[in-house]
Amino acid sequence: MENFRLYWEFHKSTLLINWVASIALALLTMTPLYFPIATMTGGPFISLFYKEITAKNEYYFYYNRGISKINLMVVNIILNILPGIILTYIVLKCQAS
């Protein structure tokens, strides 16, 4: 549970960049469906790349609790998939109606 809270904090710290990038893609292509898809695919990678460039040292916060970078990244991607699938379903439903 303690570790999940650390994973969750890391995930939260990546959401802003992920969502901004995903919204930008949806707006630029005028395709709403790209937003949820991007939050599960390109968004997390852009966000993790941004963190790697600007806040690489913050990974030590997690290392000191026994959490590796690869674990943070995998959990981050997993945590983006569930809301991404729900959002995709909602967008598809809206488009169908």
Partner: protein
Amino acid sequence: MSSLLETDSILKSYGDIQVLTDIYLKCETGDIIGMLGRNGSGKSTLLKILFGTLTADTKFIRIDGKFLATPYKTKNELCFLPQHDFLPKHLKTDKAIELYLGKEAVESFFNDKTLTKLKNSKVSELSGGELRYLEIKLLLNTDSKFVLLDEPFNGVSPLLVGYIKSLIIESSKTKGIILTDHDYNNVLDVANRYCLIYDGGIKTITNKQELVKWGYVPATKF
């Protein structure tokens, strides 16, 4: 309970440059090892290898007889203070403490002349010295058996340096501590064992004159 960290056969090179050549180091609970060395001698490299975030050409690290390939992945064995700030900037200080030490530890953690006013501040709002002090106190309050401190006195005011030294001495009752800093006077003051990284190897230092002998400080210093 006393713990023992043993490292042996650490070799590290960057390209053709051999930075560390067969390092052997032993640290027990109660030890405060002051590691000195010129810029680029490999002090931070050694600490990162010990922690497990940097690979070595060869290494052998054991804690209490247990071989650890990537020490940091085994919780509560080792903590590491890197040279640069590591607390996530978006967090509030009390949240960071809670994540590490638990909710019940937050009040007592901030019951401290320096930190009491910083409770509930964002990490990004702290000064460099305040943040360094907070990070050091946080790591020394974890259950880790060993703490590696890379430049703990860097950018810290003399008053806070005094507090940090007190924390290190107090924590050494239950931990082994390895620290490195160019502020060698404070390192010599707080440590109870000393070593110098010279030419890729570790030299045990038993008196200050040896620092002159190995060319770490000018002869006029002592």
